[in-house]
């Protein structure tokens, strides 16, 4: 059998021959044999002498889980263990060939179930799908195992012939429940992104304590009424599975099973009820496992989602940096180009003897170098290394200067630029360059929005005092407004609807306004009337006075 398994299933390279080269594996296999024997003995304690009939076939469950974890090559070990334990059962013993055949069927059916699970990548309980596969494979393997035992060994047991119809389902349930209790322990999920901290350990201890207390209550029995409080066990188990997922569910089930076993061992008179009790227990185990697997699955998805979001955030940060660098390179390239050309012109003009023209060219060179320096400075301010140099300034002056700068652009686009400033407006406490940058940016946006529109094209710059006494400035245009799909993320980077825009303008504007202690928002958005407003703090009495 082992030859057949190893040649067919490459997932496991273990064969008996390889085994001796891996001492650790030899240890694991030996451990399995010992555990199997102990569990088989423990299970058999409840119905002495009835080898076939155990209310919970924990040894079978261990064998099942072992096969899933170790690979189907271990089936031969399972068959040997099964054979040996049946052989060692005291009392009337079936003939050896029957024992051998029954053990072979057990090894083969559990082995095949393990093959199927492994082929479907279900060697761990990571989700509902895994549990459903485990249940299907376990139920069928248990049926094959129990049927073989009944056919080959049943007549040697002490069962009355007429009770086998009742005994077969009970035996099947016992085998199935054994698989559902023990196999998940060997199929615990990994990597749900939840570290096991001290707090988790405390919680787990508390849960175990609560579970045992509830168990003490649930196992109380009155004559004629079996365990009326049994369903109380669902509550702590749901708690455990909800908190620790499939792992919690599997461990909780084992704890409940251990409690039950010790209870029945100390209450020999109640042993007759064991079989009737199985059904409820199966319901509990299956429900809790299902809940646990669902929780694990959700946690896994959440962890994967979180990881993906982190990746996306990282990528978008990188993209932002790249875009900024590209924009900056372009911004600096322009004045650099002009500096080069003006300087060379100056040189040539000087050589030709036209000194006055050369002087003018040098002035232009310096102006362009200053422009480059201003870009670098505003970048520094944007990054936040340098605090804005603020002064008490007249907003009207700032506005007029910005309007002058924007004028040529408006003329070119055929846009009228108007401004209306409330009388007696107080001075504002701001960085002139930054406020002008905001104004120019907003005017630029307005002009872009008006491009190609028929009818009246006008941008109005206005300012008044708001209710809080701050200066509220407005840039309004007669365009179509901001498209609704953009409006929600208007101030986010890269939300541009312009084919060549980077979508950083409004982000930068908001940052600059906030650096002054004001705020910027889209106040009106309808066709013919689109207005951005921002507030600026009023200069206090102690503010440094400067002429703008």
């Amino acid at each position: 059998m082992s030859g057949f398994m190893t040649s067919t299933f490459h997932e496991t390279r273990t064969s008996i021959a390889d085994l001796w080269r891996e001492p650790r594996r030899v240890g694991v296999w030996a451990l399995f044999l010992v555990a199997y024997a102990l569990l088989d003995r423990a299970s058999a304690l409840f119905l002495p002498g009835v080898g076939v009939l155990t209310p919970w076939d924990l040894a079978g469950g261990l064998a099942f889980g072992f096969l899933v974890a170790e690979g189907p090559a271990a089936a031969i070990l399972v068959a040997l263990a099964d054979f040996a334990d049946d052989f060692l059962v005291p009392g009337a013993r079936p003939p050896i060939h029957d024992l051998a055949l029954a053990a072979t069927v057990t090894g083969l059916s559990y082995g095949l179930a393990a093959v199927w699970l492994r082929a479907n990548k279900t060697s761990r309980l990571a989700g509902q799908r895994d549990l459903i596969r485990l249940a299907i494979a376990g139920a069928l393997a248990a049926l094959a195992h129990v049927s073989a035992d009944f056919l080959l060994l049943g007549r040697w047991s002490l069962l009355a012939q007429d009770s086998w119809r009742a005994a077969l389902p009970a035996a099947w349930m016992g085998a199935f429940v054994g698989i559902l209790i023990v196999a998940p322990l060997l199929m615990l999920p990994r990597g749900t992104g939840q570290p096991f901290t001290r707090r988790c350990a405390l919680e787990a201890a508390l849960m175990a304590a609560v579970l045992m207390s509830v168990m003490a209550l649930a196992l109380r029995s009155r004559p004629g009424d079996w365990f009326p409080y049994f369903y109380m066990l669902f509550l702590p188990q749901i708690w455990v599975a909800g908190r620790f997922g499939a792992t919690g569910a599997a461990l909780g089930n084992v704890l409940v099973q251990a409690g039950l076993m010790s209870f029945f061992l100390t209450q020999p008179t109640l042993r007759g009820m064991i079989l009737g009790y199985q059904v409820r227990f199966l319901a509990l185990v299956a429900t809790i496992l299902f809940l646990g697997c669902t929780v694990t699955e959700r946690r896994r998805f959440e962890a994967a989602l979180r990881q993906r979001q982190e990746e996306l955030a990282r990528i978008s940060r990188l993209t932002l940096a790249g875009e900024m660098a590209a924009a900056l390179a372009h911004q600096l390239n322009q004045p650099l180009m002009a500096v080069m050309a003006f300087a060379r012109s100056a040189q040539r003009l000087q050589e030709n003897g036209s000194g006055a023209a050369a002087h003018e060219a040098i002035d232009e060179t310096v102006a362009q170098a200053e422009r480059a320096a201003a870009i670098v400075r505003s970048l520094r301010e944007f990054i936040g290394r340098s605090t804005p140099s603020r002064a008490a300034l007249s907003y009207e002056d700032l506005l007029r200067q910005a309007a002058q700068l924007a004028e040529p652009q408006c003329l070119r686009a055929g846009v009228r630029l108007a401004y209306e400033v409330e009388q007696g407006l107080p001075e504002v406490w701001v960085d002139a360059a930054q406020v002008q940058q905001v104004l120019l940016n907003l005017v630029q946006n307005a002009v872009d929005a008006l491009a190609g529109l028929p009818g009246r094209r006008i941008v109005v710059l206005s300012a008044r005092r708001d209710a809080d006494g701050q200066v509220e400035a407005e840039v309004r245009d007669s365009g179509l407004g901001v498209p609704t799909e953009i409006e929600a993320r208007l101030f986010e980077p890269f939300a541009s609807d312009k084919p060549r825009g980077m979508g950083l303008g409004l982000t930068v504007c908001r940052g600059l306004v906030e650096a002054q202690g004001g705020r910027l928002w889209l106040a009106e958005n309808q066709p013919g009337r689109c207005a951005f407003r921002f507030t600026l703090p009023v200069a206090g009495p102690g503010a440094l006075r400067l002429s703008a």
């Binding site: 590209a326 003006f342 060379r344 060219a361 102006a367 060549r500």
Partner: protein, 210 residues
């Protein structure tokens, strides 16, 4: 007016001023425009030496300007300059007939050499156009019959063969031939052949442009 005016188109006025000044400092005539539309509004093909345009501008781009000039039949050489040197853009510009594609920031030598090459090209094609126009003017003086006779002579037919084909006397053919030589101001048969080729070529290139 001689076609030696360098048009510089850039949406950044400082660049426009700087490049125009650079050209002027090297003894060239230059004028800068703030946009492609501004250039097209005042464009005089006869005075245009060459166009230096930024590739990316709000409104009409440099490549669009190149196409617009071509559509107008202005065979003016175009130099495209750009701040973001994308290979695809360079390929498109050169395929569209741009004379040169330069990446900003560039050296004055490179710029002036490119502009001079463009002006040279422009000068030569202007001379050629002028010569073409002169030949066309002369050819327009020919009567239909004279034109027929010229085409046949240029195709290598002898006077008797022409006479036979047109069904006229050899003597009449000789008269026509003398008039053709006179009107076309040709110094001999070889010269006439050359003029006729020029005539055909300029007609073909005009057809291609329209």
């Amino acid at each position: 007016m001689s076609p030696d005016l360098v048009h510089i188109v850039d949406d950044d006025p400082a660049i426009g001023r700087a490049l125009a000044l650079l050209a002027r400092s090297a003894g060239l005539n230059a004028i800068s425009h703030i946009s492609a539309e501004a250039l097209l509004a005042s464009f005089d093909p006869d005075a245009a030496g060459c166009v230096v345009t930024d590739a990316r501008m709000p409104g009409m781009s440099g490549l669009e300007l190149q196409r617009a000039l071509k559509r107008r039949g202005a065979g003016v050489p175009v130099i495209v300059i750009t701040g973001h040197g994308a290979v695809s853009m360079a390929v498109e510009a050169l395929q569209g007939g741009a004379l040169d594609f330069i990446e900003k920031p560039f050296d004055d030598q490179l710029f002036l050499a490119s502009v001079r090459r463009a002006l040279d090209r422009s000068q030569r094609s202007a001379e050629q156009r002028k010569a073409d126009a002169a030949v066309a003017r002369r050819a327009a003086l020919l009567s239909a019959r004279e034109r027929e006779v010229m085409d046949l002579i240029v195709a290598g037919r002898s006077s008797p063969a022409v006479a036979q084909q047109l069904g006229i006397s050899v003597r009449t053919v000789e008269t026509h031939r003398a008039r053709v030589m006179d009107k076309m101001d040709a110094r001999g048969l070889a010269d006439l052949v050359r003029l006729s080729i020029r005539l055909e070529r300029s007609a073909a290139s005009e057809q291609a442009l329209s």
